[in-house]
Amino acid sequence: MLQYEFMQNALWGVVLISVIAGFIGTVIVVRRKVFVAGGITHASFGGIGIAYYLGINPLIGAFLFAVTTALSIDILEKKSKIRPDSAIAMLWSLGMAIGLIFMFLSPGYSANLMGFMFGDILSIAVSDIIGMATIAAVTVMLALLFYRPLLYVSFSPGFAKLSGLKVGLIQSVVSVLTALGIVVAIKAVGIVLVLSLFTIPQAISAMFTHNMKVMFFVSTIIALLAGVMGLMAAYFIDLPASAVITATLAIVMVVLKLVRR
């Protein structure tokens, strides 16, 4: 199946997304920011819709919306009197609403709505791979080089601040990379199912290790295995890869939970 260029691209995409999800997802999960990640993911659809309406690359719109949302949530959590979870829910649904409105305003709007919602792993282009590779490289480099500050800020931001770490800066870098990582993964697994790759492998690896660095790598491998399963299902039996990936991960997690009781 690898004689086709679209399959090679898809496989590269799966590998890179697994790395991104393995690393960034671990940080999301250990910091208990899954709901925030959900907000960022769905809000990015607003950018996709506007970009589509303007006729520019939807990824650019998604990037802008995702990063803005991520940083806004950071500020809301620290400063605002609005309950953060309510604010996130608002940004979450507002983004979806904006996206939908602009998609419908676009002439001939029958855009690949399914593709944005549930991903289209076989349509990953070389330009997507370059974006993914860049984000994966930056993420892995920063996470491993600055592992100690990342660990300490994630565990206890208040104490990390007292010990002299630049907590705000580190959290902002994490937020921006989270937004970028989620957006490049949307192409393959879609807005609705992307969180599965950023949370289930991490939940599985947390059953076996209490070391965040080990979690990075174990999560990456689990995401990769599920990704390859999804890719094969898409190629051989024409099922949506994202759904197969999510179902595979969920089954593995439930089975392991039952076995390990």
Partner: protein, 229 residues
Amino acid sequence: MGNRKPLIQLKDVSAGYDHKVVLTEANLAVYQDSFIALVGPNGGGKTTIIRLMLRQIAPISGSVEIDKDINIGYLPQINDSDLEFPISVLDVVLSGTKCLIKHTAEEVEYAHELLRFVQLDEFSDRQIGQLSGGQRQRAFLCRALMCKPQLLVLDEPSTYMDKDTSTNMYELLGELHKSMAIVLVSHDIDSMSHKAHTIIRVDRTTHLVSNHYATVVPYTPIVKRNATN
């Protein structure tokens, strides 16, 4: 001895949050050999005094003078931490020093030394949530000690501890007091009154309750009004 420089001095301090003043005319001096217990009702301003000392908030009025050369070790309230977080006991202790890339061998050795001091070294690889409440509190105490503080600040160290464990904790504090000043917040006055030299009740301002320390080292009374004994 009256001209000794305090490590921290609060003079006529008012402080609070969002225009709500919780502390007024608070006065407190911490010397290098102080052992001070802050007691008083919830919302009375005990934690606010700690936050002033840690420079987490600035006073609305009055002055907070902190010796620039001192390190302050801090033990927060126990429910401040996520106990399911994937972090080992050793790494929790190491997080007490600022680290950008890698800890030095000396830092790692010192962390082990502290864990041996509180009899936790055999658990250094355990996930933090796998310790008992008292053990965990001792691990967080080690984190506070990593910066080799001249002053140790503890916020409700005996919360969720049974009597034996908290007795053990106070014995440790007695040992530590040989080399550093201690300020601790507690809601219960009994278990520490025999350890702390100075007991101050914080109820929107500071009231001196008792001061054995003053009989050993004469220094200016730290209260302005309503001092009781």
